[in-house]
């Protein structure tokens, strides 16, 4: 079978590359498939495309009816104006601090906790893991107000602490669950051999478990970066002072003027999207692989 031959979904064929039941596609069918994939893609990405197109238009064209997709002319200067219209670099720095610390805390603590649940035996383990699983089903809204009160009392409002410190406490049940499921699939022989050589469990975690876990750690990193980078409610509640705003929160203040300057707003939105876009493309291979490896596949 050549590399270019296309097949219908694994789920629909025999699941083999080209088997008794595997339907190898004709060139025409393959073309149709690509067209369909691209069409759906276009529909899904349309708001993003519109966002970018708007970011390059001048004001009259934005309100033209019927609307036009292609900017005439391409006003790249909108991006320069957008950066000056709001403290972009300050918000970028805030976002980087929050995202960086929260991601570090999540990956570090989730992998340690998962190590405890997957590789160390203790009597309370199963019960506690059950508790952990049940917290996944807990709506976060029920803890929101007391947590806000707690952080207010501690004087943490308008600091980075409310958005970063909780990440160091396990980083979320879902991530611990994913990593634990993955750690369980690693053979214990490696650990055993290391322990016989007198290694500490911390060293086993660092030198054996972590190096094997690049893909699932990539998944968690991407998820955590995304959720912190784009978090809206957290900064909305805890960052009242303008100089503490993150990008995701700062964007909405483009509308505070009497009317919305859509082109600058969309330019700023695009700028906010670019860093995570780059990260996602860079991690894409690990990410997809990791999704397949982790317990995400069910059970």
């Amino acid at each position: 079978m050549t590399e270019t031959s296309a097949e219908v979904p694994l789920a629909l064929t025999g699941g083999r590359k080209k088997g008794a039941a595997g339907l190898s596609m004709s060139g025409l069918a393959r073309l149709g498939l690509y067209l369909f994939l691209s069409l759906v893609c276009l529909v899904l990405l349309f708001p993003n495309i519109w966002m970018i197109s708007t970011s390059l238009k001048d004001s009259p064209q934005i309100f033209a009816y019927p609307p036009e997709l292609i900017p005439r002319p391409f006003l790249w200067s909108n991006y320069l104006v957008a950066i000056q219209k709001f403290p972009f670099f300050l918000y970028l720095r805030n976002t980087l601090v929050v995202t960086g610390l929260a991601t570090f805390g999540t990956v570090l603590s989730a992998s340690l906790v998962a190590f405890g649940f997957a590789r160390r035996r203790f009597p309370e383990r199963e019960v506690l893991f059950g508790v952990l699983l049940s917290t996944m089903m807990l709506p976060s809204i029920v803890t929101l107000i007391p947590t806000f009160v707690l952080f207010t009392r501690l004087g943490w409002v308008n600091t980075f602490l409310p958005l970063t410190v909780p990440a160091f406490f396990g980083g979320g049940a879902f991530y611990i669950f994913l990593l634990r499921q993955f750690y369980l699939t690693l053979p214990y022989d490696y650990d055993e051999a290391a322990y016989i050589d007198g290694a500490s469990s911390l060293r086993v975690w660092w030198e054996i478990i972590l190096p094997f876990s690049k893909a699932p750690l990539a998944v968690i990193t991407v998820f955590t970066v995304l959720s912190n980078w784009n978090d809206f409610m957290g900064p909305l509640i805890y960052m009242n002072k303008p100089h503490m705003r993150t990008l995701a929160l700062g964007l909405q203040f483009f509308r505070d003027q009497r009317y919305t300057q859509w082109n600058y707003l969309m330019a700023a939105s695009t700028l906010t999207l670019i860093p995570v876009l780059i990260l996602f493309f860079a991690a894409q291979r690990y990410f997809m692989e990791g999704i397949l490896l982790t317990g995400l596949s069910g059970r």
Binding site: E3, V113, L132, T143, W229
Partner: protein, 303 residues
Amino acid sequence: MALQTKHRPGPLARKEAWEGRLYILPWLAGFVIFTIGPMAASIYFSFTKYSVLSGADWLGLDNYTKLFVNDRLFGLTLYNTFYFVILSVPLNLFVAFLVALLLSVQVRGINLYRTLYYLPVITPAVASALTWGMLFSGDFGLVNAVLQALGLPTFNWLFNPKITKLVFVIMGLWGIGGSAIIFLAGLQNVPRVLYEAAGIDGANLWHRFRHITVPMMTPLIFFNLVLGIIGTFQVFTGAYIITAGGPANSTLFYVLYLYNNAFRFFKMGYASALAWVLFVIILVFTVIQLRMARLWVFYEAER
């Protein structure tokens, strides 16, 4: 005589146990500080009149009686939220499953498509909400322009209380990448031998899909359903940004109302009562689903 040989764990096992407890300690501490503690505090607040600035005054059941008897908006926000959940969750699951099926084809370049399909999930909620606001604008929106070009009636999407919630349902579809990727992972992990065996037995495409793919995917459908319902009940950002709950409170969803009470009017006690009512509702939904799961979720024999 009872056997007195109760196994005392050796020093190694005891060391391992203490290490284990130590490793999970961050989570356990976080669970107490950020989950159990706040939940207990939240129950207490819900029986008080409390703004962060003043102390908490005990009110007994007043918040709850006000909520169920006197608060017209409570019923309305509940209605809005149920409306949204009932339409949005099944629709999103269905479309996400279809998209995952489409993305599971093995053709060259499919990984690029998989990545592109995930892009909407990466877009900051504020940016996507505002873009949708533009697209659905009654004056210069593209949606109306397309409808007009096709000779269909146009709507003032964001100012007609009868259809605003539908706009949010459509917008919600844009975020299916997250569940689609989970389905995709599941589709790829269905053991191939099952399809091969069925192929030898002469099962056609539909039969294989119906009797292998779907049953093998039920745990993930269940997973996405449970978490989807929990998440959708807490819909907030889009409504906060685009409509701020309007027009005529038609998009005042439950958590938005809760947010307004807590952080705009500083009625922390009342908002806590709201939070607990939502918690109980979600809990009931979750328990029902866990019960129902036995009827339709397929689990492989215990490994």
